[in-house]
Assembly symmetry: C2
Homo-oligomer: 400 residues x 2
Amino acid sequence: MRGFGVRFLRLFSRASTAVPQITTTPLTCCLHRRVWVCSLPFVYRRSVSSAAVSQHIQDLSGPEQRLLNKLYGGLISGQRASLAESITLVETQHPRKKELAQVLLQRVLAYQREQENQNGGKPVAFRVGLSGPPGAGKSSFIEVVGKMLTGRGHKVAVLAVDPSSCTTGGSLLGDKTRMTELSRDMNAFIRPSPTSGTLGGVTRTTNEAIVLCEGAGYDIILVETVGVGQSEFAVADMVDMFVLLIPPAGGDELQGIKRGIIERADLVVVTKSDGDLVVPARRIQSEYTSALKLLRRNSKSWNPEVVRASSHSSEGIPEAWAKMESFRNTVLTSGELQGRRRAQQKVWMWSLIQENVLCHFQNHPSVREALPRLEEQVTRGVISPGLAADLLLKAFSASS
Amino acid sequence: MRGFGVRFLRLFSRASTAVPQITTTPLTCCLHRRVWVCSLPFVYRRSVSSAAVSQHIQDLSGPEQRLLNKLYGGLISGQRASLAESITLVETQHPRKKELAQVLLQRVLAYQREQENQNGGKPVAFRVGLSGPPGAGKSSFIEVVGKMLTGRGHKVAVLAVDPSSCTTGGSLLGDKTRMTELSRDMNAFIRPSPTSGTLGGVTRTTNEAIVLCEGAGYDIILVETVGVGQSEFAVADMVDMFVLLIPPAGGDELQGIKRGIIERADLVVVTKSDGDLVVPARRIQSEYTSALKLLRRNSKSWNPEVVRASSHSSEGIPEAWAKMESFRNTVLTSGELQGRRRAQQKVWMWSLIQENVLCHFQNHPSVREALPRLEEQVTRGVISPGLAADLLLKAFSASS
């Protein structure tokens, strides 16, 4: 049983003639000290070539097979209920359901590749991340932009990344009620953030929810950050374009902007630019325009810009969207978008690995026993950080 | 033998009555895919309380004991040769010498704590990190500031962090020759960067070299970044104050500034502000002053400022140093400096752990076998990053 992972990986890593393997092994891992259980791997009845992996996930019971067929069929024909149920499956903590979710996801990924091939190798959907400090008016902006896009014939999905939802609560209902019009729109799909509270977990399920929405025919995916923590960076790492919304205010209000996030922005939108706020919005616009010149660029082919918009009067909204479309065309033509997506896939994989491996370390009995005292000694300067790290690593590798 | 690490950690983690342990176990670990070998742990002849750990590192042969006594005695009496030899010991790759280095370091840390206690619990030395894009004039600035400080009775140590030195070479000799005057000053100690090329390794030895310099009575430690990579962040994480040097140039020259590093600056110095360059230097000063207002502050008690200085005419140099002293007084009074140091100790420990654990993962035979194919499949979108991460983690935990 201990060697199974290796054999299974061989199945994945090369065209193999390995013997049939039918088993299900639970892998206990955790993200940010919260334990979740994922059960892996799927089951293969016969030898497979790596290219054909997704067609060979079998060993499903009759009801399971029917459930997946129903979900997949409903999803790719664009049924909202099937999409919602599929996302719930991806978000589940149940080991067997997690496996089913991966089977479904593999099928949707295969479908998506087909679609891309028909589209000349170019991604069909456009993924836009929207972030900003509390009070920047993210939900209002998404509501107005979303309505405009569905009016133009697009199908718009709105997903939220909220690593703090389990502790702060509230934001879920808040978003639902704030986007009243969009949530009633048949060409829009709004999915509040999952309530399983770790960043890694949410990042992963949001990533996978994006794939499912695209499978269901949504061609514009808006990913909104909600709450605090590292969600801005998580979102910037899963979208084609990262848009930062800034309210026309200065000083302390802007302290809510995460360190380093301004440099990730492909576009800055100064919100609430109407009435009395037009003047401060213009000032903020020129300040950010200057500041962006001093910061590093994300893209070789695109210079980040700062625009003003009002969700209230809709002034500047079509122009803001035009900038986003212009960004998309630029990076699609230069091939940067495709490169960015490829790089993101690897970043996600490695950040999931890093979190899990570090967590494995932190939960190791010897490490857990020694850590508090060593950490305290390091903080007091009694021993050097290097020595403490060596001692903990020693304990980890000695008995793992 | 496998349980030794655990038992040893128990010695560290609580007052214990453990039986004597005399052994030396090599721990093979690596940083950024480069393998280094550190030999751990030291040896205990009798039961120890954790508080008394540093006094109980014994089991040294006669010659080893004499070497350490000589180095320690020479170091704390301020002998440059002993300091240089001690830093070389800390930088060594030799397993037994690495142990000796840790024994020495524990003694110096104990000495440093005594000094701090006599100083009312406040750090005796001031650690300043200096960074900037290539051509910002870091070495010239350090030369002029260093000379000014030794003239005022300070003892100044200059250390370099250069993760790229092993590949680019050159910078070592370059620095030595550029700081001609300072290198001949008896109250200055210039140490070029170690040539062992990994970031983690260099960060660690630079950290430990800082402690040794302080033990030798140097009260101003200037840590300069050389070369590229993540060295700016490594330096910002090991100093009391982080100073960014910017040349009076715009656009492409400034692309050499690392993403996110401007927000780490406690002070920005626009260099070369003399002659024809005064005008562009003033412009850069005002641009950065505006930009800094939009970025997050590092400190609750200090607002980052932008000053101009010329290493050529020395204009603005005393004022720049006065700002640094003012920063130090502010954060010492508010207690932020002490808090920052405590936090840094933990950050160093965890970043060393993270690098090592991830490297342990990457070097695992099953992971190494499966990784290239899985990574390629993730990049092509054949399997999801989450599934690939799960499969790799499964292989890692199944056979580790």
